[in-house]
Each structure stands twice: as structure tokens, then as C-alpha cells.
Amino acid sequence: MKLSFKYKVLMIVVLLMFIGIFLYYYGIKARQEQAVTEALIDYKNMTREYALDAVYKSKEVPIEVKLYPTAHTEAILNRWKAISDRYPELDYPEAAIEAEDWLTVEESLEDTDVLKEVVDQMYEDSTIPPEGAGASFTTLFNYIKYHQYDTTYIEEVLIDLGIEPPKEID
């Protein structure tokens, strides 16, 4: 059985087209999967960092995830706003919060220089810490995000500045 040149070419063209469509399809699929993976990582991080509720209706293309603020989210934002009201150099991203654009909200808390500057100013403004006492930017970050007092005097400084209510005495 001998195929003519014309049919050989036709067969090769059909095969190549087939392979081409296949590669194209898998290329698109791989890119979509990559985008979905990144989106799922962002959703997870925001859920965790801003104490959100999450509803995952679809975790594949087209991805359908919705995040909702909780009472714990409000608490984080209230701590942030209280500091920002007194120290406006720490931006409180009102518009992004309104829009529930948590990725943009997160960016406002990423400037470690500003956090350090504000926490230094807080220690200076308060009469409580002795000369030389200080805190790092993570102290302010951990206070806003997790309500943690991870450095000596930070709790007293926050109470002294009126940002935290005075401790209840049992």
C-alpha cells in the first residue's frame, strides 16, 4: 500500500493541528489553574488575617468564593482606626474597607517603616515606659491584627494613650 505525497502531507497536517489544539488547550488550562491556585491562596490568607467568614461555591474555573467580615474583623479594624486617628501617618484604608477589598487593605499595613515610626512615637508620647524602652514594628502589627501585647509596656502605653480601655480590677 503506497500513499501519495498529497495524502502524507494531509495526514501530517491533520496530526500537527491535533497536537497544536491539544497543547493550546492544556496551556490555557495550566494558566487558569495557576490563577485559581493563587486566588485560593489569597482568599485563605485574607480569611485568616482579617478573621473573615468564607463561602466556597466553586474552587475551579470559574472560581466562586465570597468573603464576609465578622465581629472579629470589626475588632481588628477598630484597633487600627484608633491608632490611625491619633497617628494619621498610619493610613486607615477606609475606601478599600468599604469595598471589602481585603488585598488592598492588607497593603496599607505592609509599610514596616511607618509601623516602626508610629510605635516609637507612641512610646515617646506616653509617660509610662522608662527612657530607652521601645518596640519593633511587629509589636504594632501584632496588636492590630491579633490583639497581642508582645513587648514590655505596650499594653500600658496603649491604655495611657487612651487607645485601649483601662484594665478592669477584679
Binding site: 495524502y7 496530526l15 485563605k44 468564607a54 464576609y68 465578622t70
Partner: protein, 189 residues
């Protein structure tokens, strides 16, 4: 004759591709629900999780109750899985933030798939919970255990309620605690 050869070759390639795809799908389809659950946690990136309970609604539907995020595990999830010819498949998942801290129990209302679920964390020392609604209905929720905490859950088939009294008992039948919990029936909107 030559045309027929081309048709045969193209058809064979197409069939092989489709068969290959189906076989891969089938191989990827885990039949073991615990493996599927692990896989879904990895996909959702909800790492370091505690599974409290797997509730089989019928032969092909299951709800997985879990919490995630080390070290606090404050994010309480429930995931619905469905068994299809491809094995157990993800249907929907929700995650609720409940900071348990020193609370005796917490609870939220949620809808997942066609089901209404009330659920939340409680201490390990709790052996039984009794729920009494304002209109006198009584429910005994299930308890699922993981590490030093438990999750209570109630798959509700009747009318949902906005608040109810929760009575917590220990293993001797003694009342440990009594509390009224409120539920937001409009969650998540």
C-alpha cells in the same frame, strides 16, 4: 482506500485521547473519602486542620466538620462532598470565624447545599448538649471530637430558630453550663 486510512488514524487518535483523559480522570478520582478530604484541604490551602466529624447524609452525600489554621484553629469549616462516578467530589465549603477562647461554647447558623446547619466549638469535658428553643422544641446535637476541643452540630430539618437555650452536661449527667445562643438567620448576607 487512502481516505479510509486517514479516517481510521484520526478516529483512533481521537478515541485514544478521550480514553486517556477518562482514565486519568478516573485515576485522579479518589474513592477513599479521607484521601479526598485531605486533597480538598490542600486545594483550599486550609492547612493544619482538625477533622471533628464526617456525617454521611446518605450513600452519596457527606458533610465534613473541621477547623483550620494553626495554632488557634478559630476558623470552623464545613464541606459538602458528593459521590459521583468519578469518586467523591467537592460541592461547597464554608468557613466561620469563631474565637472560642474561654467561652463554653459558640455557635453559628449556616446553609450549605440544601441543608441548614447549626454548629460551633465546645469543651472536651462536655458529654451531651440539649438545645431548647423558645417555642419548646428540643434537640440533641451530635458531638465530634478533635484534640482537646469538640464541635457540636445540628443538621436542622425543621424551621430554623433565632435563639435557643443550650444546656451542657458532663458524663455523669451533671449540668456544666447553661447559655442562650443567638443565630443570625440572614448569614452570610
Amino acid at each position: 482506500m487512502k481516505k479510509r486510512i486517514i479516517v481510521i488514524i484520526v478516529t483512533v487518535i481521537t478515541l485514544l485521547t478521550i480514553a486517556g483523559y477518562l482514565i486519568t480522570e478516573r485515576l485522579n478520582a479518589y474513592q477513599d473519602i479521607e484521601e479526598v478530604i485531605e486533597q480538598e484541604f490542600r486545594t483550599l490551602r486550609q492547612y493544619v486542620e482538625d477533622v471533628y466529624a464526617i456525617e454521611f447524609l446518605d450513600d452519596d452525600r457527606a458533610l465534613v466538620f473541621y477547623s483550620w489554621d494553626f495554632p488557634a484553629f478559630y476558623n470552623f469549616g464545613v464541606m459538602e462532598l458528593e459521590k459521583t462516578w468519578q469518586g467523591w467530589q467537592f460541592v461547597e465549603a464554608i468557613s466561620n470565624r469563631m474565637e472560642r477562647k474561654r467561652a463554653w461554647l459558640k455557635g453559628v447558623y449556616a446553609e450549605i447545599g440544601d441543608h441548614v446547619i447549626l454548629r460551633g466549638p465546645t469543651w472536651a469535658s462536655v458529654d451531651k448538649i440539649e438545645i431548647i428553643t423558645a417555642d419548646g422544641r428540643e434537640y440533641i446535637p451530635e458531638l465530634g471530637r478533635a484534640a482537646e476541643w469538640q464541635m457540636w452540630y445540628l443538621i436542622l430539618e425543621d424551621e430554623p430558630f433565632e435563639e435557643a437555650t443550650f444546656i451542657l452536661y458532663d458524663s455523669d449527667g451533671e449540668v456544666l453550663h447553661e447559655e442562650v445562643l443567638e443565630f443570625d438567620l440572614n448569614w452570610p448576607e
